[in-house]
């Protein structure tokens, strides 16, 4: 609590941002867990109108920037040759037509959809369909394929997601604040984030209270039943991440910060990726050396069946959920 107080005091005393408007101070009070009766007395329209007044200064800046950009554009236009623009348009149109003709001619050459003698119906697909249930134990053949026969590809996919999250972290993550120390960049991001954002919206909160548990439950169902029916780690993780994003939008960073911080993100993704890698490397080692892996496939159709597919699905689901949520928070204000 103390940490936050100093944080908001710093936010108030920052020079670049003027907080003469008393409305905004009340808003900040509402943010810092004080009774928000003040906020409820104002209609959202008044609150929005006050924000607009505060924005007029920024509007002037914005218009000046655009004028500058327009003059720059005009300068670039003067520098170029007069015949350049029609030639450019003509080349664009020609390129598009050529691309469409090329792709359409390829489509004509394709074999008919679903024919029996298509080149896709070779011995690989036949073996997957005939022996798949016996060898992987998964009723859903797609799960058996991507998490058993082709598990290495799925591991690469998860790693690609992880690398993408790492690069987004490198680009957008702002510095941590320790003992209430906040960098100006974080304050600016915080202010930018609160700008035009519905805070303490009763309708959204009520809807989120009903929807978020259902969405999270549905996501867990998709992950856990990935080997029995349509679904799997990736889609279930995306659904759960969307549920978390809805929760964040309704209740704000203070509520989500209680159970999902940067530390949680790091540890969950690390543990899930390592579990995936260790389980699959054990399975690859046993398979390559013709050893018995000791993992029973169980009866097909039961929840606890099909060997490693269920834990791998859970790992992929956790990674995807954390990364979707992390993307959202990083895009929004550069931290969690």
């Amino acid at each position: 609590m103390k940490k936050n107080e100093s944080f908001w005091q710093k936010l108030l005393s920052l020079d670049e941002i003027s907080y003469e408007n008393p409305l905004d101070e009340q808003l900040i009070d509402a943010e810092t867990d004080q009774p928000d009766s003040v906020l409820r007395q104002q209609s959202p329209v008044e609150y929005a109108f006050a924000e607009i007044l505060q924005e007029e200064k920024q509007e002037e800046l914005y218009i000046a920037e655009r004028l500058e950009a327009n003059s720059l554009h005009a300068w670039v236009g003067r520098q170029s040759k007069k015949w350049a623009k029609p030639v450019y348009s003509l080349l664009c149109a020609l390129f598009c037509v050529a691309l469409v003709v090329f792709l359409m001619s390829t489509v004509i050459e394709l074999p008919p959809f679903g024919a029996a003698d298509n080149p896709t119906n070779n011995e690989v697909a036949q073996r997957y369909l005939e022996k798949g249930l016996e060898e992987t134990g998964a009723v859903n053949m797609v799960a058996g394929m991507i998490l058993d026969y082709r598990a290495f590809d799925t591991f690469g996919e998860s790693t690609v997601l992880f690398v993408a999250a790492c690069s987004v972290l490198l680009l957008l993550k702002l510095g941590d604040h320790k003992d209430g120390e906040v960098s100006p960049a974080m304050l600016e991001a915080e202010w930018d984030d609160r700008h035009h954002e519905p805070k303490n919206d009763a309708i959204l909160q009520m809807a989120a209270r009903v929807l978020v548990p259902v969405i999270l439950l549905f996501g867990m169902y998709i992950v856990l039943a990935g080997h029995l029916g349509p679904g799997g780690g990736f889609s279930g993780g995306a659904v759960m991440g969307a549920g978390l994003i809805l929760y964040l939008n309704a209740f704000g960073f203070r509520k989500t910060g209680r159970f999902f911080t940067y530390k949680t993100f790091r540890w969950v993704t690390f543990v899930a990726l390592m579990t995936y890698a260790l389980l699959k490397s054990y399975s690859f080692f046993c398979g390559a050396n013709h050893l018995e892996s000791g993992i029973s496939l169980g009866t097909p159709g039961a929840i606890l069946s099909s060997g490693l597919i269920l834990p791998l699905n859970i790992c992929v689901g956790l990674i995807v959920m954390c990364i979707m949520y992390a993307f959202y928070t990083l895009f929004r204000k550069g931290g969690m």
Binding site: P44, A48, E51, H196, P198, I203, A207
Partner: protein, 107 residues
């Protein structure tokens, strides 16, 4: 005879729901202001979709299917008004000239 009555009622509900959806689409293009358009769109969403799914419930006598349709109706009735409320809020917050289009009752 009973089957025909059920069929007639469900067809009537379906046509009414589709008409409401069509009027929502027409309203999207005929109205000029955002909040008017939103009124038309959300009416088509909640009422039209509700009537269509009610008629589908009547047409299919299957218990599980009816439960699924009712869940869809519940989900849409929860999400669509919330989304409309948020869009209205965005419009009020970003458009400084909204008072040209409507009358505000001051408290």
């Amino acid at each position: 005879m009973g089957e025909w009555i059920v069929f007639g009622i469900s067809a009537l509900l379906l046509i009414t729901g589709l008409f409401l959806m069509l009027s929502a689409v027409v309203g999207q293009y005929r109205f000029k202001y955002v909040l008017n358009r939103m009124h038309a769109a959300s009416m088509g969403d909640s009422m039209g979709l509700g009537l269509v799914l009610l008629s589908l419930c009547l047409a299919s006598g299957d218990g599980w299917l009816i439960a699924k349709y009712l869940l869809v109706v519940l989900f849409v009735w929860l999400t669509s008004p919330t989304a409309g409320h948020l869009i209205a809020r965005l419009e009020i917050a970003t458009d400084s000239r909204y008072q040209d289009e409507m009358e505000m009752i001051e408290k």
